[in-house]
Every structure is written in C-alpha cells, then in structure tokens.
Symmetry: C2
Subunit: 414 residues, 2 copies
Amino acid sequence: MSTSISPLAPKSFPEMPPVAGVRLSTAAAGIRYPNRTDVLLALFDQGTAVSGVFTRSKCPSAAVDWCRERIKRGGGASALVVNSGNANAFTGSSGRSATKLTADIAAKAAQCKPGDVLLASTGVIGEPLDATKFGGVMDRLVAGAAPGRWHEAAKAIMTTDTFAKGAAAVVRMGPSAVTICGIAKGAGMIAPDMATMLSFVFTDAPIAPAVLKTLLREGVENTFNAVTIDGDTSTSDTLLAFATGAAATRGVGKVSRLSDPRLPAFRKGFNAVLADLAEQVARDGEGARKLVEIVVEGAASKKSARRIALSIANSPLVKTAIAGEDANWGRVVMAVGKAGEPAHRDRLSIWFNGIRVAHKGERDPAYDEAAVSATMRKPEITLKVALGLGKGRDRVLTCDLTKEYITINGDYRS
Amino acid sequence: MSTSISPLAPKSFPEMPPVAGVRLSTAAAGIRYPNRTDVLLALFDQGTAVSGVFTRSKCPSAAVDWCRERIKRGGGASALVVNSGNANAFTGSSGRSATKLTADIAAKAAQCKPGDVLLASTGVIGEPLDATKFGGVMDRLVAGAAPGRWHEAAKAIMTTDTFAKGAAAVVRMGPSAVTICGIAKGAGMIAPDMATMLSFVFTDAPIAPAVLKTLLREGVENTFNAVTIDGDTSTSDTLLAFATGAAATRGVGKVSRLSDPRLPAFRKGFNAVLADLAEQVARDGEGARKLVEIVVEGAASKKSARRIALSIANSPLVKTAIAGEDANWGRVVMAVGKAGEPAHRDRLSIWFNGIRVAHKGERDPAYDEAAVSATMRKPEITLKVALGLGKGRDRVLTCDLTKEYITINGDYRS
C-alpha cells in the first residue's frame, strides 16, 4: 500500500483556533493494530446542538444507524467517539450491540446520557468491532481532553488518507467573532477493505438545531455531494455538525430562524469550511495525480448539469485519459451522451483549462495540439462542457484514475 | 498498446457455415493506416429484412443516425458497409455527408438504392471520415464478395480487440435447416480514442421485419445489454440483424407472426448466437484477466436485480478486488447499497464460485479463507448475491479492472 503523500496535498495542516465548548482527545485502543492512534473523543459543553447527513447507501453501517436515530429524536450532543481500524459495517446484531456498548462506556466516563453520544467508525468491513477495548482508554481520554487539538484529531481518523485534513473559518456575528473548525477523512469513497468518508464540523456559534440542519443539508450539496473519487458510495459516509453555543457568553445571541440577518455571513464561513474539506478529499483520492474540476453549463437545469458532470467525473475512460495527460474530448462526448440528460451533439463545446478543443459538435478549428498538451501536464485540470441548451450550471470535483488506484485496491487483504 | 491475446479468449475462431443470400468481402481502403484491412462489405440477396438496436447515447455517431432512419422507414437491406479506423462520431455536418457519400458509392457498385445500404463505423472519434477512400476499393469489394468469409469479416472490424469474435447456430425449421451466423467487436465499451461495440447477425431464415425486430429487442436484453466492461456507453453501439429469406427456396415458409410454432426453436438459436458473442465481448474487455458473472437473486423484481447486478459489475472497487483475487464481500455490500434498490443488509448472502462468504448480513460462520483464496485464482468467477426479498433474478457479465486497462486507456493518443 502506498504511504507517500499525495502530490496534490496542501503544503501543511492549517492553523486552526480552538472552538469554545469543544475539547478533543485521542488514544491507541488497539482496535485493529497495537500502538496506533485509533480513537478520537470530542466532548461538548452542555446545550450543544448536533445535526448530520449520512450515506444514501441502503446498507449503512451500525454507527450510521445509531447517529440517525439519535439525531431524529432531537437530542443534544455531549460526546463524539470516532474509531479507525474497524467500520462496524455488515456486522449484524453484534454491530448494534457494539454501538450501544461504546456509547455506554463513553457516557459513563463523560458523565452524560448514552443517547447524547454520537459515533462513527471507519476501517475494515464485516469484522465484529470489539467495543470493550474502548473501556481501557475512555477514562484517560476524558481526563486528557483539551481544546484545539485539531491536527491530532484529524490524524486519529485517517485510514488510507495520505494527509490529515482540516479547515477553519472565523466569522463576525454581532458583537463577537465565532469560529468554525472541521476535520475529514476520505481516500476512496471506500478504501481498501475500509469504508468511509467522515467529517466533523464544530462551531461555538449558538445555532438552533433546526437551523443547523438546514445549513448542513444545503451546504453539503455543492461540497461533499459534489465530490466523487470512484462513484462507489461508502456504507459509512457521515458528516456531523456541532454547535456548542459557547459564543453566547461573549454576547452572541441565539440563531433560531433562517431569516436571522447574521446567518448569511455564518453560512458563508460554514460552507467555505465544507468546501475546503471536500476539496482535500478529492486531492487525496486513491492514487490521484490530478485534481479535476468538471464544470457543466448550458444544461437544461442545475440538476441535469449535476448528472452530466457526475457522468463525466465517474467515467473510467475520461479519468484514465486525464491520467495519461490526453485532452480526449471524444470520451467527454461519450460521457455526456451516456448521462441520459438532454444534450445535443452538434451544440456541444468543450474546454480543458480554458482552451477550447471542441466547438459545436466538431473539433475546434483553432485546435492547437502543443498548447493543449502543455496544459494537460498541470496537476489541476478544469474540464468545462457547454451544452448550449439552457441555463443549468454545476460543478463537481474528482481526480484521475491511475495504476496506483488499482494497486491500492487490488492488493490482497492482509 | 497491448497486442497479446486475452487469456480468456476461446481456443480458436468457431466453424461457421455460409448463410445463403449473404456474401462477404474485405479490403484495405487506407481509412487511417495504409495496408490494413479496414472495410467489410456484406451483400444481400433481394428481399433481405433488417432490424437493429443502437446505443442509448444522446450523442450517437453519424452512422447510427443513418441506420436508425433507414430501419424506421422499413426499407430492406442490399448492402452493409463497416469500416474500422474512424468512428465518424462527433464530426458534425461532414459526418452526415460522409454517410451519404459512402452509401452512394456502395449503391453504385452494388447496383442498389443508397437507402438500402446500412453503415457502421468504428475507430477514432472527432476526425472527419474521408469517404472518398471507399471509392477506390468498392468495385473490387463487390466483385470479390463470396459466402462464408466470417473470419475475415470479423477481423476487418476489430480495433483494440485481441481476438476475432464469431458464433453460429443451425436450427431446424420445418422441412429444412436454417443458419444463424454473427460477428462482433468489443474491447472497451469505447476503446482508446475509438468508439464502439458492433455486432452483425445474419440468417437465411425468412423472418418478416416486424418479427425480426421483436426477436432482436427481446434477445439483446439478456445478452448484449447484460454485458458491461467499464460502464461507459459508446456513441456507436450497433447491433444489426439481417434475414435473407433464402431458405424459402428450400421450402421454409415465411415467418410472419410471433405465434409461428417454428419460432421458439429459431429464437433459441438466435439468442444463443447473441449470448455467445456478448460473452466473447466480456472475455475481451480491455485488460481483462477474469471473466466475471454477477448473479443477483431474491430481489424485489427482475429489473431491480438487473440494476443491482450492474451496480456491482460497474464498481471499480469490486472489479479491482477481483483483479487482486480477493473475495472482498464488503465491497459487494457497498455496491448493493449504492444501487438505490430495495435491499436489507441483514438478509444479504454472498457467494464466490458457490462458496458462501457472507450470510444474513454477517461473515459466514463457516468461512474458510483457504478455499475462498483458491477459487479466486480461477479465470472465471461467479459472484452470487441473494437479497432474500422477492423472486427477482438476473445476471450480467463483466471482467476485472486491471492496470492493463489503465495502460490501454491512459496512453497518449498517437
């Protein structure tokens, strides 16, 4: 398995301020391997609101089931326990028992209700998760929890990720600034033997649960939902947002309505954190050598543009062409054609990094092979398709498909 | 580009008898490269019926547009011209002119109506097809046409195929036997810079056009439509069936109704030819080292079973696992889950080559790693999923995803 850092990785982990009301702690519980940090505990001040979005898989992991139920009940959040090494997916009734036991152990140590503990697991699928192992580290985790340990937290949830992923924003909200910090893990939609895209976002802004829910649902649409590595949907995809409300002590009043005039600024910062994390997931796609932005415009609708963009982004022939630094617009036409959305061959135009290669259904008369070849060697490629039908526009992020992807995913389980 | 023959290839090209009323001829017209056989001409006796099914792409090739129009008009077939080297796809108005010119040239040489000439093209996309080149070889093609030249014909339409694909069946029909012969080309759904799955099936049985149309539409459903290499749909997929009716001279009366008692036997032979050709396409998938049959049963419906089977067959993570000889049922669960069809995690069972690896949502208690590892080393893998919900059952064929696929499709165009 590759251990080299993605060539598309950011230069360093970002500066991330603490979020008032959130304390973090990590430990090595020996979930799969000894002496490897594999548990993250986040503790929240009383009154913390939580919302979440999850995989659309019909076969979700036990932790996804657990979180969905907790959030549906409208409970608050006192703790979050995330483990790597085992996804607790496809583990039947023992999986359900493991979630309950984990929550019980955390609740006892953190002196909260088990129903206020959120869970996420990532790692091997189909192996029972031995939740008793959390018992050996939980008291220490609680005792050692401290604000601002984002880098450690981001590292604790990695599996085949080649770099830790974090993002932060500070936004003015009435009399004070509020902070939004997020971490994520990705790699493949589902990594070798492992499941999961996980992301956790934390803020001290006092956002009511219903408002947080809307922010999250809207924010995810153009960020995490607009990233695809291989079109394979994990059984464990989880994105949780926590709002501690601690900024209230600095005079920031509660945001209870979507019409709150302070919300646009907050939303902008919140979405920027989601977008940054989502892009980092694409930059760490398994075997990725190129970050690829697909822009579709002139579609019948935004929804249609999204479908066409995903058809292009998930096409193995488009992705291998980009890996080969080949501006193969014939394959782009193929991917547009197979999407099943309104498209007219003789109105299509296609650009790579701003250079038009095809126009109105034929090769661009001004096609310059040398200029196109030069731009395809860049690590970041923007592929734009104009359909010439309507005003629908959308974008998605993906990466190229390389032999390294096959190596990572074609190796024996070990 | 790889030139070695697929390890999954049949031992040899099959014995294929002539079909009365069909004469074949091939030539090197220099469409893309000099001195390479790149044109196939088939000539049909008067009264030949034709039907076709085509790509569902919204951006089809000019030849697909041409054939669709001819067949919709209900015309007969006097000639078929197929070229490799250029797909005449995404070539705008020049592509339409090229189809017309090709038909005119063939009609003149074969002394028939241009509207009775069918066309198919495979090869590079987006390059204008210089149809005048057919002029230089058409008279010789017509003069040299002879029955039974199936192997030559199958070779003439290859692009990145590593072996020529043919299949035949002989069926009793009243007083005489009738013959069904077919050829195909595949490789990727769309090969490097090239488009196309093409197949042509010929019979001397006197089948009325409306009956032929039904046979073809029904026959393709469980054969060519049940094969996927990479989920990428070609702009040029074409399957044409020709019925010359020449067996009438041997006393075989016309089949004009679907209720004809002779039809079931014919249908069986016809479908067997389609199934054989479709399997050969899967056996020659780009970079394929394993032939993979996906069987889904216990689904809510056959349609649901097909969707789940295709979700598994198109999953890069399932395909790379099989390339790595890893019975990774966790990824199979993932692919079932993402299909969006009814599925219940805790009722799922999964088999590789008859060995049950997962049962009712958990690892099979009798799981034997050694036996599973041994069976995964075989060149043919049957992956069965039982959903335990209903009676819907279906199967599709695919191949594994190897580094060779990336090599073939990630190389520069040259």
